[in-house]
């Protein structure tokens, strides 16, 4: 499996560390979020069979976090973006 690091270029996945689903949204820092929302964020996963947005860390490369779109049925990697860009975009979205 090869991951197209937007910074380093395409690399074998052995250079990366995996964190899992990029979907769950962390409750706001400092907010007064209920325990069930936290539970949901920390523990529950969609775990879909098909396209999946997930966090990978380019540990043996540029040491940055990426959001990789990958199909869990075929392992085809559709693309990768810097996690920071995705996060900024998401926080800008309403």
């Amino acid at each position: 499996m090869r991951i197209p690091c937007p910074h380093c270029g395409e690399r074998g996945f052995q250079e990366f560390a995996y964190y899992g689903d990029a979907g769950p949204k962390r409750p706001a820092h400092g907010g007064d979020t209920g325990e069930d929302v936290w539970f949901d964020y920390v523990y529950l996963r969609d775990n879909p069979a098909g396209p999946h947005e997930e966090l990978w860390y380019h540990a043996a490369g540029c040491r940055t976090w990426l959001v990789v779109t990958r199909n869990t049925l075929t392992h085809e990697v559709a693309g990768a973006r810097p996690a920071r860009d995705v996060a900024l975009e998401r926080s800008a979205a309403p």
Binding site: H29, F39, V42, R63, W65, E76, V77, A83, A87, S91
Partner: protein, 1013 residues
Amino acid sequence: MNVAGRIVAREANGRSSAATLPTQPFRLAAGGLVDRSRTLAFTFDGKRYAGHPGDTLAAALLANGVRLVGRSFKYHRPRGILSAGVEEPNALAELRSGARREPNTRMTTAELYDGLQAASQNRFPSLAFDLRAVNSLLSPLLVTGFYYKTFMWPSSFWEKVYEPLIRRAAGLGRAATGADPDHYEKSTTFCDLLVIGAGPAGLAAALAAGRSGARVIVCEEDFLLGGRALADRRRVEGRPAASWVTEAEAELESLPEVRIFRRTAVFGAYDGGTYAALERVADHLPVPPAHQPRQRLWRIVAQRAVLAAGAIERPLVFGGNDRPGVMLAGAVRSYLNRFGVAPGSRAAVFSNNDDAVRTVADLAAAGVPVSAYIDPRPQIPAAVRQVAERAGARVLTGAVVQRAVGWEKLLYVRVANDTGQEFVVNCDLLAISGGWSPTVHLTSHAGGRPQWREDIAAFVPGTPPPGMTVIGAAAGDLALADGLAAGARAGAQAARDCGFSVADAPVPFADAESTVIAPLWRVRNATGKAFVDFQNDVTATDIRIAEQEGFRSVEHLKRYTTLGMATDQGKTANINGLALMAEYTARSIAETGTTRFRPPTTSVAIAAFAGQHRGREFRPTRLPPTHAWAQELGADFVETGEWLRAQQFSRPGEPDWLATVSREVNAVRNGVGFCDVSTLGKIDIQGADAAEFLDRVYANLFSTLPVGRARYGLMLREDGLVMDDGTTSRLGETHYAMTTTTANAARVLQHLALCREWLWPSLDVQIVPVTEQWAQLSIAGPKARAVLQAIVDPAFDLSNQAFPFMAAGAGTVCGGVAARLFRISFSGELAYELAVPARFGDALARRLMQVGNDFGITPYGTEALGVMRIEKGHPAGPELNGQTTAGDIGLGRLLSKKKDFIGRAMAARPGLTDPNRPTLVGLRPLDRAARLRAGAHFLPRDAAATAANDQGHMTSVAFSPTLGHWIGLGLLARGPQRLGEVVRAHDPVRDGDVLVEVTSPVFVDPQGVRLHV
């Protein structure tokens, strides 16, 4: 082979010149691609034989008239050579000896070298006389599934009696006798096009792509390029096919961007266009030359791949079809044409297709009489009949071989035709062909399902992995001309796909052939055992039994009968087996389907996957800056993660490590010692939001930390449990130096990056690992200041007022060496951590030894460090084991109530705040002479040793030289409320129960007076 190698081989062999070697009675007078000018000596089961360079072991044995080469797995039936390639199920040998012994080596692919030693396997006491052949008589009992139905009584007999018997009888060859002495390598390479298989189709593809300038890799598992073009007397471009191959090879060699990997099998197709291949670099030599690996694992990343792996011929299923002397028709041609060997002296050919009649012609041309050509088809094409008759063979149509008769060699075959006539055909070689199965294996590694093609009675590739095209016989285009054309097309297309322009070139033309086939899956009125899977002894009857018992899915069939599960993965067996299942279940073959193919397509040595990473090079070793110095002092070292750290510095005359460690501890407690703590993770944190960032990632506050001060910090995971701890210092308003534990350094760095980039991308914070930059030495003990005073440059005021406990600062030492100084203490003594650029770490240690000499300075290792932290009750690895909360380790007060932080919410869950959770306490043995051991469980003093009474466990222990007895830290249910209570530290696995008294975890200087002097 180089001369040295040959001499070694000779000596190993203990004999001398090739002149005394036996002749090769079955070597043809001429022909073949072997080098007859040189003779190689080899042994099989201790007996000496001769062969030539270019032979495989199988070819050379056949040349010497050896027919019996092995015994089957279950029934120990005598077996001969069936094939001439990787599909071989029978002819397996132990190659080489001692630590280089390789079990189950296919004789058909083992390249002959001078001095080669081979031994037959799975026989007792000898190949010719195998006692276990009685299994054959028991065979009615040993059918498929027999063991599931019996051996159940008495139940204790399985491990003691039945299983050992079964195990000893099973298995094939023997493993080596010692650690593999050879070297292995792994290499990664990239290309535009990977061509798998260098038969005519593959060569055509490589040429077409290579000429465009594309980067092409051609992998061929054989030691010669050419595939079937070497085995068949065919013509390409009007020339003998083999000479066309030579020219193609020469042209490919001349193209700078084309690489040819010989002896290299592509064995796995993985995701992302990654292919795994095994190059057998030195398997054709007695031992690998110096600095050469035995084998090299290639990871090939290819934009495009062309699979041109050819096809594998299928045996026919009839009685005694496993007799030595029964051989695949195409293999017979290989031995005749490529190796110049006659695999028999009188032959018959049994085939259901138009291709095998070439074998009749080639045998005759080589001077081997052919008694009969036997074909189940009532009508055969005139051309086929003609070829057979011209070769002098009697042509029997509508006829089948019912039984091959013989034991260790074939004597004759019994033939019956559709009019009920029976014949006996004398022969010691029966060439058989049930048709050809495309080598589709690599196309299904990514999940593609092969498709049934009725017209050629074979499975062809379904959906290959992305980027792969299949051509030639592998695609079911069995005719040579089609393969050449497809190759030229696919090669050009691949080059275009990779952005190269390709000129149209003429497609090499070839003579025509017929590939017509009428499937015959088994001979119906066969007598005797009719084998489907030769190696695993699976017969047609076994398949019927499986069907009867409901194991009808091909995958059930496989698992119940072990069909296709042997070393050859059923390359010659699978299709026949599933066709029989289709017949028994009255389904079509397409409906029945194939079992799934998986890597590796041919077996690969475990060592090849490991490559260089074994022994001490299994994982890298990280050495701290003072390593060389510590080594000179004779330190003992200990693995801590990837690091190798000095464990203790023993001195001559010290009876044991405990004496050494106690001396080191005493030195620190009473004088001064120092220890390399460079392995702690060091992370530089800067930025306008650095303080805010630390407040979020640490449970306690860091924004309030004054510049020039250090603070102990505790980090939680998002789930509220403790992740790591360490001291972090504020070097400037927006600049912090964080330390982490050695074990968690990488994990923390990754976590901080996630926080910065993913959770809070708008914070201005920069995180830079600086562990490697600094040599950090802890200098501890009442005399630490005095020693330090001797090396800091004058500007540095070390007084308690100027540089109090938990102060942090920068300056220079030893006359201008930049340094950072932290007054922090793990030992509980007056202590400093002094950091200098790592290149000076070694010299700093030596300097400290000098200047500290008068103070009795003592280097100490991780053991003494551990003892002192236990004496002080500081939690470390065994307490921060990922299962503990801040409260569990007595640090609940650090969880800030003033701010939010990672883990805050989840840490409040009832399970994590349960007052009954085991909590950190100190322990000391009631009998002060008793030894404590970590891992013991706590039980109420007089309670029974049951799980219900389990109240926690001892996490860390040490012999405290300060107190003169063992002490421990532990997690005890409601521990802090039980100070003074006596509990039992229960340690049955070491027979060491001890009564211990619950104490505060801080054993030494509970007020922390010494820290502040």
